[in-house]
């Protein structure tokens, strides 16, 4: 118990990793359970953020270089591109099918 309190008192690599792990699991949960395509998208954003935390944490505590941060920037770039495309697709689907429920979408054309 004493050890645990000590551990809590000195936030380090493990703490960030555990936060990121929980964030990741939450994102996966959103992807798995939600039926709205936009909610799925939000879940993906959570997962990406969790991954970014990992990158930066390792870059800060283990390699001690900035490579992790650069990779994180690329992740953000790709997340932006992905969000734009995904939302465009969602809008298009909504126009064609009048729903954004991923379970009801089972064809690529109307």
């Amino acid at each position: 118990m004493q050890d645990f309190i000590h551990w809590l008192q000195a936030p380090g690599l493990n703490h960030f990793l555990i936060i990121s792990g929980i964030l990741f699991s939450l994102g996966v949960f959103a992807i798995l359970t939600r039926r709205n395509a936009i909610m799925v998208l939000m879940g993906i954003e959570l997962v990406l953020n969790a991954a970014n935390i990992n990158f930066i944490a390792f870059s800060r505590y283990i390699t001690n270089t900035l490579d992790g941060q650069v990779i994180a920037i690329f992740v953000i770039i790709l997340a932006a591109a992905e969000a734009a495309i995904a939302l465009a697709i969602v809008l298009n689907i909504f126009q064609n099918f009048n729903t954004v429920n991923v379970d009801e979408l089972n064809q690529l054309r109307d």
């Binding site: 996966v28 992807i31 798995l32 359970t33 991923v102 089972n106």
Partner: protein
């Protein structure tokens, strides 16, 4: 100009035609005039650059070789092979500088000529694009410094020649000819590839200079001189294919189906010259035996195709066989060791043969238009029997054609005389040094034949009476774009470009720039050394000149007596030598022989296999099946009927089984088997017999129904059950699959933790 600049300029020269190809193949429809000016302009630019390279190389760096190499792929140390890496590189020496100019001159002028000749063609732009990639691949062969890149460009030449020969692919003969050229060339290329791989397996590099250096220090393939000879001959196989040497010469005459400027490009200066160039490049590694083989192949080719050329009536076919014959000359020249002369003939021949082809193109073009004008679609515009008296109608074509003919016949003051004379002197020297007198004899005989059939062509086409006055009236001289290349080539057929002395090439710049390279093969298998050869060459020079002039004069004389003064009737002679004439007319029946031998052979083999499959294999399978069925059915029925015969049969089976077991046991005796073993085998036989009785007792059908079918049904049931089970997992929902992915990832995590 520094060496770096020369290398860079050469790379630019190499890439310019590729640029033209890339632009034209995509945009020819959008460019004005379908882009012919673009491609032609690019080629003239390349020509100008190559002239610069050539001039600088000749003036400032005549005895140096420039190379630039970089490692493209490095595989490191490959197990079972050793260090392996692929290097790309280019090299500029005198050979390359000269070839660059030759290729670009011919290509540029052919481009110019094509503007007139191909006017109004359906695929006009694409035609120019193909010319571009052809030139690119040829320049690639010339400029590399290693076998590997050479092979790549070699195949590219094969491909682009296929595209060009098959340009008018709507015509079946044209597409067939393209396929034939492609396939026949592959046959030679297999040999070349094998040869290159022999070298690569030994030296672990493709670069010429590295291979030769290593060879010079006594390192030869597999430590055996026989393999060295084999490698040399195999690499020469590539040249046999590309340079149309016997026995793979059959593609070249058929390739005349392509547009005539293409024939000029492919068959005069580029593709067929690639083979000769390859021999020149690989010359240092050729053993005496390999060179002997090369010399004989060249001589045989020269002879065969010269005899065929005599009997042909199609203007392009005559030129095609004369090309094959002249290529035979070059190969023979290199083979006998007259390296410079062989290569020199390549250069001079490129000029006048390109001219001859373009001249024939001009004639065909004019004939075609005249026939078209007259509404005649049946007469063949390429048949020389339909021509005659074109001299006055097409003066420029006639005079230039005459100059080329003089050059190819080896008349003094022409370039052809210089190179041919040197080759013939080389064969004489070779004959006196090695005792192979047949080679010079063939050489001089073919020289006479060449003069004869070329003058026959000139006389029949341009002199004499018009056999159809009306048709000839409509013939017009070709446009400027076509006559200018003719004049340029005619000018380049004079001696002055190559040597100041019209009777000896040795004093010219060419013989100063190109020297026979020192052989790198072990002394025991090397050809006659350079000094000895030069000595013999010196002695035979005047004899060669006199002899070659005599035979050429004789050939021309006979041609004039036969076709101009008509003192000898050609038809009468042909009639008298009917079998021989038919033999020549049908090209020695090579095509028919190949058809019978390879096409027919393959078909026959396929038929034999089919028969074997249908009769023997299927027979055994079906036989076993029906036999088993018959026995089981028969015995079972008989058993049920209580037939004596079936009981007797079963008894026999049991006895045989016992006996076989006994014999098997006995056979084991000499190998130390004990009595027990023997008894054991007997028991085994007894068991087999018992099983047989049991099977018949329960009935084979019963076994089949209960056990075999039971197993099958159980399997099917199991499969169905498993299918049902797994189908539940396949929900078709993406989230389910994602869940499985996550589970999988977790397994990995726990596994590798």
């Amino acid at each position: 100009m520094s060496p770096e600049t020369i290398i860079q300029l050469s790379v630019v020269i190499l890439l310019l035609p590729l640029l033209g190809f890339t632009l034209l193949i995509f945009f020819n429809k959008r460019l004005p005039r379908q882009g012919d000016w673009l491609e032609t302009g690019i080629l003239f630019l390349a020509l100008a650059l190559s002239l610069v390279v050539f001039a600088v190389k000749m003036v400032s760096y005549r005895h140096e070789t420039f190379q630039a190499t970089f490692t493209w792929v490095n595989f490191g140390n490959v197990p079972g092979f050793g260090p392996m890496k692929l290097e790309l590189g280019i090299m500029v020496d005198n050979l390359v500088a000269i070839m660059l100019v030759v290729v670009n001159v011919v290509s540029a002028l052919v481009h110019l000529f094509s503007i007139g000749y191909m006017h109004g063609d359906v695929r006009y732009g694409r035609y120019f694009a193909y010319l571009g990639i052809f030139t690119f691949s040829m320049l690639g062969i010339v400029i590399t410094n290693n076998f590997w890149m050479m092979y790549v460009f070699w195949e590219l030449v094969g491909l682009s020649s296929y595209l060009l020969i098959g340009h008018w692919f709507e015509k079946k003969s044209a597409s067939d000819a393209a396929k034939k050229a492609f396939v026949v060339n592959r046959v030679g290329d297999i040999g070349m590839f094998t040869g290159i791989m022999i070298l690569f397996a030994t030296f672990h590099t493709f670069t010429f200079s590295t291979i030769f250096e290593s060879m010079q220090s006594g390192n030869i393939p597999l430590g055996s001189e026989a393999w060295l000879t084999a490698a040399g001959i195999l690499i020469f196989c590539g040249a046999i294919g590309k340079s149309a040497q016997f026995p793979l010469h059959v593609w070249l005459p058929d390739a005349m189906e392509g547009p005539t400027p293409v024939s000029a490009l492919i068959h005069a200066a580029t593709m067929v010259a690639a083979g000769v160039y390859l021999i020149a490049r690989a010359f240092p590694m050729m053993t005496a035996d390999a060179l002997m083989f090369i010399a004989y192949i060249g001589a045989i080719t020269a002879f065969i195709s010269a005899t065929i050329a005599i009997a042909q009536n199609d203007i392009k076919k005559v030129l095609a066989y004369s090309t094959v014959s002249q290529l035979g000359y070059m190969v023979m020249g290199l083979g006998v060791g007259a390296y410079t002369a062989g290569f020199f003939h390549l250069v001079t021949h490129a000029m006048f043969k390109a001219g001859l082809f373009l001249g024939s193109g001009s004639v065909i073009h004019a004939m075609h238009h005249a026939l078209h004008h007259a509404g005649d679609h049946h007469t063949d515009p390429q048949d020389i029997r339909n021509m005659g008296g074109l001299r006055s109608k097409m003066p420029i074509t006639f005079w230039t054609f005459l100059i080329y003919t003089l050059a190819i016949s080896g008349i003094p003051f022409t370039s052809g005389f210089l190179s041919k004379d040197e080759i013939l002197a080389g064969t004489l020297a070779f004959g006196s040094l090695t005792g192979h007198k047949i080679i010079p004899i063939i050489g001089f005989f073919v020289a006479g034949l060449t003069a004869f059939y070329m003058f026959r062509l000139v006389i029949v086409v341009f002199f004499g009476e018009h056999n159809d006055h009306h048709r000839i009236e409509a013939v017009r001289e070709s446009p400027k774009t076509m006559t200018i290349p003719l004049m340029v080539f005619a000018a380049l057929s004079f001696f002055a470009f190559y040597s100041p002395n019209p009777f000896g090439a040795a004093s010219g710049w060419f013989f100063d720039a190109i020297h026979r390279p020192e052989s790198v093969v072990p002394l025991a298998v090397a050809a006659v050394g350079i000094e000895t050869f030069e000595e013999a060459l010196h002695h035979s020079h005047s004899l060669a000149m006199i002899l070659s002039l005599t035979v050429a004069g004789l050939g021309i004389l006979i041609a004039f007596t036969t076709y101009y003064w008509k003192k000898i009737s050609a038809d009468a002679v042909a009639d008298k030598l009917k079998p021989l004439h038919t033999f020549f007319l049908n090209k020695w029946y090579f095509d028919e022989f190949y058809e019978w031998m390879f096409v027919g052979g393959t078909k026959g083999l396929a038929r034999a296999y089919a028969w074997f499959d249908n009769r023997i294999i299927d027979g055994i399978v079906n036989g076993v099946g029906s036999w088993t069925k018959a026995i089981t059915l028969g015995t079972r029925q008989n058993w049920e009927e209580g037939s004596i015969a079936s009981i007797f049969y079963l008894g026999i089976t049991g006895v045989i089984s016992l006996y076989v077991g006994w014999i098997a046991g006995a056979a084991m005796m000499p190998f130390g088997a004990s009595l027990g073993t023997m008894v054991g085998y007997g028991m085994l036989g007894l068991a087999v017999a018992g099983l047989t009785f049991f099977l018949f007792y329960v009935g084979v059908g019963g076994f089949d129904n209960s056990i075999v079918d039971g197993l099958v049904n159980a399997t099917a049931y199991l499969a169905g059950f498993l299918g049902l089970l797994t189908r539940r997992v396949q929900t078709g929902k993406v989230q389910t699959y994602l869940a499985f992915v996550i589970l999988g990832v977790m397994v990995f995590f726990l596994w590798f933790r």
